[in-house]
Symmetry: D2
Subunit: 345 residues, 4 copies
């Protein structure tokens, strides 16, 4: 039975603890937080779980095989490296680290030690996103675009921009659903509060193919929107995460291209673009809690050495884009090549 | 009574003719189209209206005081200049011209001759957009952002990109609703049909203030969306043009900023950002046909010498942005200063 | 080529005329209305069509084979009988007549003379309703209920209640989609304007099987709703006529009944009711204008002697329910057996 | 400090316990359930709370001033009477009792002993329903109709029909929002599972005025709907409980009646019915948990002797309608006078 410790009991930590406590094959050994007053309810609710404000204790606890990190982003690198160096497997919140360089060192450390490093890209474990990947591979044909809107009147963060807070979700979903990885990013945005990071941002991702991706994130919207459009040559998807059911709708719609544009003059070619509309289909989705399945997968990987769906490299790819987007934002949309970003990092 | 001729009886021309025929103070004298087979239904339906395929006839017709131009964009400049030189007032479809340079020359020609030059920015005559301007001026406070999505599975154009076809609407609305004019534009997009212009595009507009505007246009979307969010320091607007009623919703929501960020350290300041939510209000809108009101305004300007709401300068400002966006699109979002665009043009 | 005359050029007549003028195999001979000022636009738009205010002229016109009646309900019987007696085929607006007795005599007269009598149940010719019938027959299994809401802020009628004005649509759709015919009706409702008929009403229809149908109609609702739910043992339908596309959604949902309720005690049986949820599917629908297809079918029937989809008997069945519902309304929902209604009539 | 015991820890009991544990002015003394395995989590989560399977213990516990009953409906009467006879104040789930007679005896017993008897009509404590009452009193004018749809694919109950399970919510809301009380009810419905109570039902409520109310409840619907329309002479309300925000929308719409219908002939009167449309307004709502506020009100009443918003008489009025509706259901909508129902009971 794998022993697990959780560090960080703020916003997300309680969800990790609740799910880990429900997994019969794992043992939730202890929960750590610097703010000891946060730990009282842990003890009340899970009397058999130890609580501590000393992370070192956790590192030296032989009952603990793996550590889940749910602390602020700026601390991920330090805590994860300490855990890995102490021989613990690591499950870390997204974004995985504050810089590409940090993320790369975490990946390398885990690889060197043969430890599992999983990143909590929760969305890739939802029924909706898993179904979209299946449809993307099987039904969409060539993928033309991926467009996501994720806006609401939300909690302003002070240490990171809306890109690190919200776009990270979309980037992790794209990393999972789309086969291709972006080669460049252009980002624009604005901060409306003096001294604070951007609260509205627009990212365009470029790929080697004709695929284009775009993400709109905004902390200052009057309504909540969570909507993604994916356009393919055969079918198209609308994914609305706020729909109580039918979150994923697949449209048998598109354009038809007949004839040979190289051979034909413009006039002729114009007559050969047609439209196609057909049925719409909303597949049934697995509605079990994504985080529970994700943690079970992590524990399974610890046990068997398998790779988690969202491994350190997935986390690294996402952080690299966040970093490049932040550079682009500062230059009103100047395109940042992701390979260049790699070299810089 | 003002005499009017209409040139171009394709997609939009019939709407001009229908509305002009209904205005009792004007006389629809003749309709011109190069494709004579298009003109038969005009004669059948409006027996007193002349039809012709010779634009020169219209230019020399002393009964005609003003000419409405509803031909392809590439012909606007030539036809409008001929009309102005013949002493006719001009009402021209949007976009007003194919280049900034053309648009400028049209404005100058009209000014020199003291003729009215109106651009058919139809949306600025709708009840919804007029109400939004009223609210923007009175209720929104400082305007933070303007975000519009205008996508559908639409008719691919072959001569112009989706920016000239769809974003032109948003740019004309912004020109009317927002006090401030943009200083730079960054645009990204993609063509998915070989040899054709971009069918998906994203425009970011920068302003001297902290206002940021963004437009997403797409001819290849599985669903139709026409939704604009406008965020202000006091209130926010959601404008959904597909709603049968309640197209404009005003939200009494936002953030509250207390304290003096310059004087306080980061920790302190963080506690001073608050959220505010209140009632939502959907004002009743004038639902009479915008085009009818717009044409009556044009005729009134012809009569009195007043300036139309969307005059040649408004048309010019919109074309200038379209041109700059097209330059930016070709360079994956490189920011184009609108003053530079002016010099180039 | 079949010659057609249209009597009544008020609200619906123009639609009949427009569609008939578009059918190349038919000849629209003349249009009749008592209010001659209504006929001027007919002449202007369709110069080859005769206009008259004398219905007798139409009856004696040898060029006319069939007459379409679009006058107030109270006149349907008299005009249709005159037409039939003059040997003309008849296409009559819904509701077909003001009483069951009238409707029956119309059916008998048409049958006796071997003339086609079609009732304009337009909805049964829409792509949505035709698809629903197909699904009802093939996929729904045993049909449990049919529930429709048809409300809006609408034109109050003065001669008939909201039941005759709006519920007639639902009754005609049910008559077409459902195999079974109702045996009794209970209706409740209210008039809120002194001296006027009911502006809100609720109809329940009972069947020999366990099918139950219900219609809610209201002229005084703040929002427009056109939504029908059909529940079957295998699948269920949501039909929303206000959706621009995806009007018909088919849900693979329901309950599962296992075990033998007769043999089991209550406790045991309770454990055997389960729920089933699966995919949702929105079939593509024919979006061509229903009225055009309906009129072509009528003309085809005139030519070949075939029965129209909505023949006189369909019209009669609907009127019989309207009449019984009116009786029930007056008695606060007292159930009216439809066989009794037949005898009374 | 008032001591409270909770009996019944099935579906709703945990919500009572959670809310009571959060109220600092009350002491949650013990929780009782016949199924002892249900009580283990209570002890784990609330270590200071006693657990018992013996209701008598609770009755004799001097620390307990009030008992909250969350057991099946059929047991409400017996448990509540025992509690009242033991001098305990009572907070009982809805519906308050299985028959009007039971409900009346509970009301009388509480009155005789000067004890508080509150019924858990939770909805009347929500921000949405409280706001609707305020609007109904102040803005709607004469209320014309109340129409509610409450359908979903839900848990079939075996002991009570969908009327007792779902319509009870609407009846409790109406009892609170509408000034007038119904005088008669007509109900239709159907059971689609052999041996089980009705799973679909339609209730019409009649009033002395022209107000008419209607409730549609259904356990077998493919989609979840929670929508109420309230029509008044001045304004109208749409209440959609599934909306995340803007649950209550107030429409400034209606008809205008001018002239004197008694004096005018029909023709004249017809011209005097007009339509009025204006703004729509969605007031901000209190979103704190209704049950918490409700329990605090109950405790306040225990302390001060004030009447709770939903007292025993409100519960009795609702049960009386449920009982009459059940009679009507069995007779296909025969109208049941509520006064007669009283006499029978």
């Amino acid at each position: 039975m794998i022993g697990v410790g959780v560090v960080g009991y703020g916003y997300w930590g309680p969800n990790l603890v609740r799910n880990l406590a429900d997994i019969v094959d794992a043992r939730l050994v202890s929960v750590c937080d610097l703010m000891t007053e946060r730990l009282a309810p842990v003890k009340a609710r899970y009397p058999t779980v130890d609580i501590t404000s000393d992370f070192d204790e956790m590192l030296h606890d032989p009952r603990i095989d793996a550590i889940a990190i749910a602390t602020p982003v700026s601390t991920h690198f330090r805590l994860a490296m300490m855990a890995l160096m102490a021989g613990k497997h690591v499950f870390v919140e997204k974004p995985m680290a504050a810089t590409t360089e940090e993320a790369r060192r975490m990946v390398e450390e885990a690889a060197r030690r043969g430890l599992v490093l999983a990143v909590d890209h929760t969305f890739v474990h939802t029924g909706a996103v898993r179904k979209m990947r299946e449809i993307a591979e099987r039904d969409l044909g060539e993928i033309y675009y991926y467009d996501s809107v994720r806006v609401n009147l939300g909690l302003f963060q002070h240490d990171v921009s809306v890109v690190w807070d919200l776009a990270v979700h979309d980037l992790s979903i794209m990393d999972y659903v789309l086969d291709e990885k972006p080669v460049a990013v252009s980002a624009t945005g604005m901060s409306h509060v003096p001294g604070e990071p951007e609260n509205i941002a627009y990212l365009t991702l470029f790929y080697e193919s004709k695929l284009i991706a775009h993400v709109h994130v905004n902390w200052l919207a009057p309504v909540k929107v969570r909507r993604t459009l994916i356009g393919g040559s055969n079918k198209m998807i609308v994914y609305d995460d706020l729909e109580p059911s039918e979150k994923v709708k697949v449209y048998d719609k598109g354009i038809t291209l007949n004839g040979n544009p190289q051979k034909n003059g413009e006039k002729v070619y114009q007559m050969l673009v047609g439209y196609r509309t057909g049925d719409m289909h909303a597949p049934q989705l697995d509605i079990s809690e994504a985080l529970g399945r994700e943690l079970r997968e992590f524990l399974h990987c610890v046990e068997t050495g398998a790779q988690p769906t969202a491994d350190g490299n997935a986390g690294l790819r996402v952080v690299r884009i966040l970093e490049a987007a932040t550079q682009s934002l500062a230059q009103r949309g100047r395109v940042i090549e992701l390979e260049k970003a790699r070299l810089i990092a």
